[in-house]
């Protein structure tokens, strides 16, 4: 479902119309030129399709009742979210009610009582769908895969139907709850009935939306064109993290823009390999492990979830080899993470069941077998054919009343899972074995 195309083809048009109505209604109508936005701020969430738009405009009010029409054709604005707030002369300007006129979509009308005549700066806030952002990372591993340069970027995509010009952009890292889709609310065009929602106010006296085709801004007309990378300022708010992009940016409808967020060289990594038959059959999976911490030259803020592409330098003039691509989870500060980079066939783990026996049979009163014990000897052959040292993590899953005898060092992950973790030098081959005893039937004591 991509409603954006039609939205885009019809250039977004929305209008803020100030009408000054002297009572009795209809006696005199003043239509003034629409004031442009003085400022606009986008707060974009990545966990849901929602962006909070905050804009300020300077309106000229007259004393008495003022009607203000706000319409937003061909955009993805949630009509239930539009809010009006005077920033200056707030004591004198009073919002009486808001009306969504019948048979007119994408329009609302505020009735405002003003005890002040003159210019008032107002803030208009609403939610829109269709703007999103995501994080991306490029990991450049050193030849020995002991360190990497990690570069993060954010990419903002605008399919909202509206060109937000010279906007301040804020990105929210965090998970928010929405009970209704903003896109669905926007596409209803009108405020739908909802429990606890008052009935629509009566029709306004008169209104006509004068549509102004907004110009489609092409890239290259950013009012501020900085000659350095824009800094992305990061701060924590409640359970969220807020990234504020320095300066202003224009992302026309249909466009996307990627901005560098950080670049950190010399982040220590471990080339980590995992084997677990229950998850990947006989494949050995490759990971880069690192910690989002200050000793690892990171750790200043959590890293949002995103896609990562990993490369490894293979020549002195920094040519790449492609290592793999994957998605990384949200990484809190001081958390250790793994980037899964796919199967690697140059690290081999070959488990072989070398002996199996069944003993200690016991019988019930009817003479049937009620308990027995099996003993398995497993031999593991491991080999690192790579030209770098790696860490290998082999996991085995057991069930029932089991016990393990081995010379190899292992850790119990949980009641039924153990792991053998050890370093493997370049071109190293080694073997280890364990004996697994499982008591079945009435032989089991746990």
């Amino acid at each position: 479902m991509r409603p954006f195309k039609t939205v885009r083809d019809n250039a977004a048009a929305w209008v803020l119309l100030g009408l000054f109505v002297a009572l009795p209604a209809g006696a005199r109508i003043n239509v003034v030129t629409l004031p442009g936005r003085d400022s606009v701020q986008l707060t974009i969430y990545n966990s849901a399709d929602i962006t909070l738009v905050k804009e300020t405009r300077a309106l000229t009010f007259r004393k008495g009742l003022n009607k203000l029409e706000f319409s937003w054709a061909n955009t993805l604005i949630d009509p239930t979210s539009v809010e009006f707030k005077p920033l200056t002369h707030a004591d004198a300007v009073d919002l009486l009610d808001v009306s969504f006129p019948p048979r007119v979509s994408n329009t609302l009308e505020w009735r405002i009582q003003s005890d002040f005549a003159g210019e008032v700066i107002v803030e208009i806030r609403y939610f829109t769908s269709g703007i999103g952002w995501d994080a991306g990372y490029v990991a450049e591993a050193a030849r020995d895969e002991k360190a990497m340069t990690l570069a993060g970027s954010v990419r903002v995509t605008n399919h909202s139907g509206e060109d937000y010009e010279n906007a301040q952009i804020r990105l929210v890292v965090g998970v928010i709850r929405l009970v209704e889709d903003i896109l669905a609310l926007a596409q209803q065009g009108q405020v739908a009935a909802q429990a606890g929602m008052p009935a629509a106010t009566p029709a306004p006296v008169l209104m006509r939306a004068a549509k102004e085709e907004s110009r489609t801004r092409m890239l290259g007309v950013d009012a501020l064109m900085a000659d350095k990378q824009k800094e992305i300022i990061k701060e924590g708010v409640s359970e969220y993290f807020l990234y504020t992009v320095e300066g202003r940016d224009t992302i026309p409808n249909g466009w996307a823009k990627r901005l560098p967020s950080f670049k950190t060289p010399e982040v220590p990594i471990t080339s980590y390999y995992k084997f677990e038959r229950e998850r990947w059959n006989d494949q050995v999976m490759r990971y880069y492990r690192f910690t989002n911490s200050e000793p690892s030259k990171l750790g200043r803020e959590p890293l949002p979830d995103g896609d990562v592409k990993a490369f490894r330098f293979i020549t002195d003039d920094s040519l790449y080899a492609f290592v793999g691509r994957s998605a990384v989870k949200y990484i809190p500060v001081n958390e250790s993470v793994e980037m899964e980079l796919g199967a690697d066939r140059e690290v081999i783990v070959k488990p072989t069941l070398m002996n199996w026996n069944k003993t200690d049979l016991s019988f019930d009163n009817n003479g049937n077998v009620k308990g027995w014990t099996t003993r398995e000897t497993w031999e593991f052959e491991v080999q690192n054919s790579k030209d770098i040292d790696v860490m290998l993590d082999i996991r085995r899953n057991f069930s029932g009343d089991w016990s393990l005898v081995t010379d190899a060092v292992y850790d119990k992950v949980d009641a039924n899972k153990v792991k053998f973790v050890f370093p493997l030098k370049s071109r190293e081959q080694r073997k280890f074995a364990y004996e697994l005893t499982v008591k079945h039937g009435t032989n089991a004591t746990r």
Partner: protein
């Protein structure tokens, strides 16, 4: 589907309030270098270098492609001449176009060598092996070819192609071209010729077969230094094996010519260093294997109160008779499968016996030349299978 990779650089000096159409300048810098990395099995990485003329200040560099299957999210640009000073400020992606625009700041008007890298689909590689065995089948000459298939939409000129080992090739390959090149050649590579008779898959008594039983024939190559290999993992690919033959002389009295005959082919598996590549290339019908179970008795039968048999042991004896009709020694591996808990009681060939896993063992036999009739090789073994149950629970592995 003609390639059009456009790279345009131009300077935006004036920030005009009016909207500007996106301008593509025609003056394209040629690629100064193209490097293709085929090391990853699923993705081809292209790195190309171009020299672009940057003006002082912010430059817009436009990169667009048509008819080329590039992963747009993978495109990166890196400055090589002044990596610390020439900075990529941001990347913009126009709607409905395979294009992007970099804003690059340069501290001065200068030429900058940049490296643009991206993942490309449609440029694939196959590894192809061709081998010519000596008539004695003790060694062969191996040729390892890289076969490139370019369906990427992109013409690559003088590209440096790397497959992760050995030196890079510098080649041109046009769109829709297939290019095969020799990447490695090893002469006199020692091989082992091996027949494998598996009791689970081949008939035990050839007398009851309508056709002569063929025993799978393999060549075994070890990827190690002693086999003149061992420098890198051998990649999977098709192996075609030929054997040298002596041809009839062209004219009477002349020396016989050299020729080859095709002996078979197989898919080589990925073979890391120090491991064996076993190529199953055909069948041998000059070796005859007859296996019989000569004893099959149950012992220690335990019954429940209803007189049903619950647990027992078994005593089994097997006899394998092998005849080699060839005039040479033949290496034969006999594979036996015994599930459950068992113990070997008697074994005529302990030196040749190899336990492979809990339920599999092998005999590695060297059959004397022309060992038939009374000279045949006879292997016997007796095993006891223990604690056999009516409902055997072997599902623990």
């Amino acid at each position: 589907m003609k390639t059009t990779l456009l790279l345009t650089a131009f300077l935006v000096i004036v920030v005009a309030p009016a909207a500007l159409a996106r301008v593509k300048l025609v003056a394209l810098p040629e690629r100064a270098r193209v490097v293709v990395s085929l090391t990853h099995p699923d993705a081809t990485l292209i790195e190309e270098e171009r020299i672009i003329a940057l003006q002082k200040g912010v430059n817009k560099v436009d990169f667009s492609w048509r008819g080329v299957n590039i992963d747009g999210t993978s495109i990166q640009i890196r400055a090589l001449t002044n990596p610390d000073k020439v900075i990529v400020l941001n990347t913009s992606y126009p709607p409905n176009e395979n294009a992007l625009i970099w804003e690059i700041n340069s501290p001065a008007a200068q030429e900058e060598r940049v490296r643009i890298s991206y993942l490309l689909t449609g440029l694939t590689r196959d590894i192809v092996y061709k081998a010519i065995a000596e008539p004695d089948e003790k060694s062969l000459a191996l040729r390892n070819y890289l076969r490139l298939r370019n369906e990427s939409g992109e013409d690559l000129t003088e590209a440096e192609l790397g497959i992760g080992y050995g030196a890079a090739f510098k080649k041109s390959i046009a769109h829709e071209e297939v290019l095969e090149m020799l990447s490695e050649r090893i002469d006199s590579l020692p091989i082992r010729k091996l027949l494998t008779w598996d009791a689970a898959t081949l008939p035990w008594d050839p007398e009851y077969e309508k056709k002569t039983v063929g025993i799978p024939l393999s060549y075994v190559i070890t990827n190690s230094a002693s086999s003149k290999l061992g420098r890198h993992t051998l990649l999977p690919g098709k192996v075609r094996i030929f054997i040298k033959t002596r041809e009839q002389p062209v004219r009477d009295g002349e020396a016989p010519g050299d020729g080859v005959a095709f002996t078979g082919e197989d898919w080589a598996q990925l073979t890391p260093v120090d491991r064996e590549m076993k190529l199953y290339i055909g069948q041998s019908r000059d070796v005859k294997v007859t296996q019989r179970r000569t004893k099959d008795e149950r012992l220690n039968i335990r019954r429940n109160n209803s007189q049903q048999e619950v647990v027992w042991d078994k005593d089994e004896v097997y006899k394998i008779e092998i005849e080699n009709f060839k005039k040479t020694i033949v290496d034969l591996v006999v594979v036996e499968h015994v599930p459950g808990y068992w113990k070997m009681v008697e074994n005529s060939h302990t030196k040749e016996f190899r336990k492979k896993d809990a339920f599999t063992f092998e005999y590695h036999l060297a059959l004397p030349a022309e060992s038939t009739g009374t000279k045949k090789t006879t292997v016997t073994f007796e095993l006891n299978r223990l604690n056999v149950q009516g409902n055997n629970e072997l599902s623990t592995y």
